[in-house]
């Protein structure tokens, strides 16, 4: 347990949606969406972590439209977030919806307020289960939503999202999309989707399949993340408990593969600054911080240094494998790095407990020096 350098924040509801406030690069901020079937109870928590004094400042907003399954934030506009939520409709019915929301500029701690809906998205024709709505990495007016059967591109400049194009999941009807993400490279023209054991990446301009990793895992692929610092590198994780890193130009076999969790891995994240650090969250109630130094963008420079200074630094080089872990009491579905501070990460377990942790000092120095 590394709780000595973590801060715990407890929610009163179960939660499985966590995102860093990507547009905010000064403060360490995370957003949590709760999941309660009593839909008026649902909240969005904005948590700000003050690193110097290790305290949290939170703002709570209502999200009375329904339980939040997924929350994402815009990398360009710090106040824009999107949620995918499940709204109850009458007796024993519920539908999934997604919307773009706006965080208020002024902090108001007195009253808990509902967030202003910037853009509503209409999914009436495109599948029933909405997986995620992802902001385009470069264009502020573009977002993509992934449902179990469609990939939909939105123009979100208006209050009603305009469906620019939609790509249908061809192939087996039973194979549903489960998760998706923009490729931050390639001018933001590619969107990757996880479907069963495969990764399929579409070129959004043509709607064609750009590339795919077939059978990336031997069970469901749960999540993926692109290495911001190294082209073509993609991390995936899945129900087989494996963390794999691929160079998607060589789809045959992963360039890195580890199985350190004892159950499914739900989430994988490259550290945006030091991409040898990889965060994985698993339903074995652990978050693992692993090193993939051998395939990281810093690998080359590191070896050069090691050669220069010979044996002294050679042992300081990070070895591949787990470095540090956080224990939760329940399955952890989300773990995120802070975009503002390279050494801070948050993890959220199903029982509604958020853990904000630091990378160990020794590791930090090892990487920096």
């Amino acid at each position: 347990m590394d709780n000595d350098n973590s801060v715990i924040y407890g929610l009163e509801f179960q939660a499985r949606a966590l995102t860093p406030q990507l547009g905010e690069t000064e403060k360490i901020r995370f957003l949590i969406g709760t999941q309660s079937l009593n839909q008026t109870n649902n909240q969005i928590h904005l948590i700000e972590f003050n690193e110097e004094i290790s305290t949290l400042k939170t703002s709570v907003f209502h999200h009375s439209d329904g339980e939040i399954w997924k929350i994402t934030s815009s990398p360009l506009d710090a106040n824009k977030i999107s949620t995918c939520y499940n709204a109850l409709t009458g007796e024993n019915g519920c539908t999934m919806k997604s919307a773009i929301l706006k965080l208020p500029e002024i902090e108001n701690h007195d009253a808990i307020e509902n967030l202003e809906i910037l853009t509503e998205l209409d999914f009436s024709t495109c599948g029933s289960e909405i997986r995620t709505t992802e902001f385009h990495p470069n264009e502020s007016n573009t977002a993509a939503s992934l449902t179990d059967s469609h990939l939909i591109l939105w123009d979100i400049s208006d209050t009603r999202g305009r469906n620019i194009s939609s790509i249908t999941n061809e192939g087996k009807t039973s194979a549903k999309f489960t998760n998706g993400k923009w490729n931050p490279h390639q001018n933001g023209n590619q969107f990757s989707c996880a479907t069963e054991t495969h990764i399929k990446t579409y070129d959004i301009r043509s709607g064609e399949l750009a590339w795919s990793l077939d059978n990336a895992h031997c069970q469901f692929v749960r999540d993926m993340d692109y290495n911001m610092n190294k082209l073509y590198h993609l991390a995936t994780c899945g129900d087989d408990g494996f963390l794999k890193i691929w160079d998607y130009r060589q789809p045959g076999s992963p360039i890195f593969s580890r199985s350190d969790h004892s159950h499914w891995i739900w989430c994988v994240r490259f550290n945006p600054f030091h991409d040898q650090l990889i965060l994985t969250a698993s339903s074995d109630a652990r978050v693992l911080l692993s090193s993939a130094a051998s395939v990281s963008s810093e690998n080359i420079s590191e070896t050069l240094i090691a050669e220069d200074r010979d044996g002294l630094d050679a042992k300081q080089k990070l070895k591949d494998g787990p470095l540090q872990w956080c224990e939760h009491e329940d399955s952890v579905y989300c773990a995120e790095w802070s975009p503002a501070e390279p050494w801070v990460f948050a993890s959220l377990s199903y029982d509604g407990r958020l853990l904000i942790s630091h990378v160990k000092k020794s590791l930090k120095y090892q990487i920096l020096l």
Binding site: S36, G93, E329
Partner: protein, 740 residues
């Protein structure tokens, strides 16, 4: 006698002294006696006297006749004397006449001897004149030896008189014949059919004819080379048809003996002989010849070795070891016994070939073992898949039998191979005692290359099933189980057995040699692969059950479902599957590694139904629609129970294996439930299902609280995800479950 003679007393003696005699008589005899004696003596004297008279009378006539004769003789001699004088004069005249004759004949005699000398010379010349024709005749008769001898006879003369015009013809004739002869000899020299003996003969003759030795030596070698090359070609042709022993014999009797003969005759002809004849050049030439010979032998042996190597190589794919060893032994013995060349030890090269053959043989055997293992695996795979198709519940001893037969055949095969290879070390095999061979063969080839390598192959093959699993979903999980047990069995003795047997058979002392792979090392990899396989088996089986549960949760519309009347069929499937896995595992693994507290079945069952109901129904039966309470309870529960590793390693016993599978299945169930939203009836269906699982799964696990806890979590999660969390009456649940 002497005494008698000198006795003066003896009357008859010559030294008779009458006085002494008288004195003695007077002294000794009595008177009478003296008188008697006197008479006696008188008497004797008288007799003697008369005797004398008769004697004289008798001889008188003879005297007269003798006188007559002498008179006659006197006359005769006188006659003789005259005759003799005559003879002397005659003789003198004879000598004078003979002298005379001698003088006259002297001249003629000299001429005669001169003439006879001329005659001899003429005869010799006659031979010379005839020489060309005789040589020709000899040539025609092909008795070259005789021809050479004849020529050599005449050679000096020819040389002496060669410049005389009358002999020039003869000489040129001879020389032309001689060149013909040489050509003929050379031809014979190159004649492939000629035996080595004939060859040496020809060379011998040529040398006698003063041909240049260097050239001859080169020519000899080229011819020999040609012949050997033919032998080699023949060997090569034969190598495919004959078996290896025949081949080696053929090589020994044909090529090698020829080569030996050539070398020996070369020695005789060029090296030893030259020494005697041309003293000044001999050293240089000898060196030259020796070098040439060495090169020649080297080249040919190289070719021969190549051939043998090829043959041995080709033989190893098919032949049996004892034949091979026998052939190699013959080969090696033959090579070792001949010292063809001073500088190069061909025995080493031969040993190299033998070692190579040993290595190849080991490799071939390894390959066979591997193939055999692969075969038996496929067989087992087939039998596993077919039995499953035919009968749902396999005969109880089936798996164990399969395993035993697999272990047994593998062990027996290895043993058989070892026995087969021991042939290489039989005491009567020559090369077996060479340390050069023994070391590399026993340790590098047999122990490390064959046995250890095969054991590693076993684990590697076993492990490949884990690694390949993703791409090859057709591997029956039972095979994994079987293989894991197989590895365990090997670890528990068979590895030791095989290694110790190897060490024993091949006289390896594992303590002395640090380069050897230790038994523990192999045992460890065996253990590891067994663990890996078992873990993989658990994961696969867990995945199979998970898949069913996942589908059953994902495909159902839990919001619009009717009130539960029965346990869903999927749950029965899961229980069925798990109990069939249980029975499969039971065939190979013991119930327990370490005894846990499972009391007698009947009492336990009753207990297990009632106990958890009190324990966890209490959490949910008076479940209020306040999620906080239940969350709290659940969290408390979690706080005090141990953390559960889902994909953890399992132990080598049935309970642990089954626990692993159930853990994986139930965890999946929970995660799926959490992704769904339930209506009241949906929740109640989950309640029924979990209760059903509760009833049937406890018996497979070591710690039933684990099952309770997981099922509790499932129901808890479902309740959380329920719009209207109202549970069913426990009694109704019981009834539904008991109804099946």
């Amino acid at each position: 006698m002497n005494e008698k003679k000198h006795n003066p007393l003896d009357l008859d003696g010559p030294n008779f002294n009458p006085n002494m005699y008288l004195d003695k008589i007077f002294k000794e005899y009595s008177l009478k006696q003296i008188l008697d004696h006197e008479t006696e003596i008188v008497k004797d004297t008288q007799t003697l006297h008369s005797d004398m008279q008769t004697l004289v009378y008798e001889n008188y006539n003879k005297f007269i006749s003798a006188t007559d004769t002498i008179k006659k003789m006197k006359n005769d001699f006188k006659k003789m004397e005259t005759e003799m004088d005559l003879l002397a004069s005659n003789m003198a005249s004879i000598t004078s006449s003979s002298d005379q004759i001698n003088n006259t004949l002297h001249e003629t005699r000299q001429r005669i001897s001169e003439l006879s000398g001329v005659h001899a010379l003429l005869q010799k010349l006659q031979f010379l004149f005839k020489l060309p024709t005789t040589l020709k005749a000899r040539m025609e008769e092909k008795s070259y030896i005789q021809a050479t001898q004849d020529y050599l006879h005449a050679q000096r003369v020819l040389q002496q008189y060669g410049d005389m015009p009358s002999f020039q013809g003869i000489k040129s004739d001879c020389e032309s014949i001689l060149t013909e002869l040489k050509a003929e000899l050379r031809k014979q020299f190159c004649n492939p059919n000629a035996s080595a003996k004939e060859l040496t003969e020809s060379v011998d003759l040529l040398l006698k004819l003063n041909e240049p030795a260097k050239e001859l030596c080169m020519e000899f070698l080229t011819c020999a080379e040609k012949r050997l090359a033919e032998q080699l070609v023949m060997l090569k042709d034969q190598s495919e048809q004959r078996d290896i022993i025949e081949f080696v014999d053929l090589g020994c009797s044909g090529f090698l003996s020829d080569l030996c003969l050539i070398v020996a005759s070369f020695h005789d002809m060029f090296i030893n002989r030259v020494h005697m004849e041309h003293l000044e050049n001999s050293d240089i030439f000898e060196n030259f010849a020796a070098v040439e010979l060495d090169n020649f032998v080297k080249d040919n042996m190289k070719k021969y070795f190549e051939l043998v190597q090829n043959k041995v190589d080709s033989e190893q794919d098919v032949g049996d070891t004892s034949v091979l060893v026998q052939a190699l032994d013959r080969f090696y013995k033959r090579i070792e016994s001949n010292t063809l060349c001073k500088d190069i030890d061909f025995a080493n090269v031969a040993a190299e070939i033998v070692i190579n053959a040993g290595r190849k043989q080991c490799k071939a055997h390894l390959q066979i073992l591997k193939m055999h293992f692969a075969d038996s695996l496929t067989k087992i795979r087939q039998s596993l898949t077919t039995t499953k198709l035919i009968t749902q519940d396999e005969p109880p001893k089936n798996l164990n039998d399969l395993l035993n037969s697999l272990v047994l055949t593998v062990v027996e095969k290895v043993k058989g191979v070892l026995q087969d290879l021991v042939v290489f070390l039989q005491p009567d095999i020559n090369f077996a005692n060479k340390p050069q061979f023994k070391d590399s063969f026993c340790i590098d080839n047999v122990r490390e290359g064959l046995v250890v390598c095969f054991l590693h192959h076993l684990t590697a093959t076993a492990r490949s099933f884990c690694a390949k699993g993703a791409s090859d979903p057709n591997v029956p999980p039972t095979l994994l189980l079987l293989l894991s047990k197989f590895c365990i069995d090997f670890q528990n003795g068979h590895v030791h057995l095989l290694l110790s047997q190897t060490d024993e058979l091949f006289e390896i002392n594992p303590k002395q040699n640090s380069a050897l792979t230790y038994e523990t090392e192999i045992n460890n990899t065996m253990q590891e692969s067994a663990q890996e396989l078992l873990n993989y088996f658990v994961r696969i089986q867990g995945l199979n059950c998970s898949q069913m549960l996942r589908k059953s949760v994902e495909t159902r519309d839990w919001l619009h479902t009717i009130e539960p009347r029965t346990v869903r069929a999927v749950m029965k499937r899961v229980v069925d599957d798990i109990s069939s896995i249980d029975s499969t595992v039971a065939q190979l693994y013991e119930d327990q590694g370490n005894g846990t507290e499972h009391s007698s079945d009947s009492s336990r069952k009753a207990h297990s139904v009632s106990l958890p109901r009190h324990q966890y129904r209490s959490n949910w039966s008076n479940y209020a629609p306040n999620p906080l309470d239940s969350a709290l309870v659940s969290n408390m529960h979690r706080l005090f129970s141990e953390r559960i590793d889902i994909f953890s390693s399992v132990q080598f016993n049935k309970i642990s294996i089954l626990t692993g599978i159930i853990k994986i299945s139930l965890k999946t169930f929970m995660e799926c439930v959490r992704l769904k939203t339930f209506s009241k009836y949906g929740l109640q269906q989950i309640q029924v299902d979990t209760h059903y699982l509760q009833l049937y799964l406890w018996r497979f696990v070591s710690d039933e609280n684990l099952v309770h806890f997981l099922l509790d979590e499932i129901l808890g999660s479902a309740a959380h995800r329920c719009l209207e969390p109202v549970l069913m009456e426990p009694s109704v649940v019981d009834i539904i479950c008991e109804r099946g």
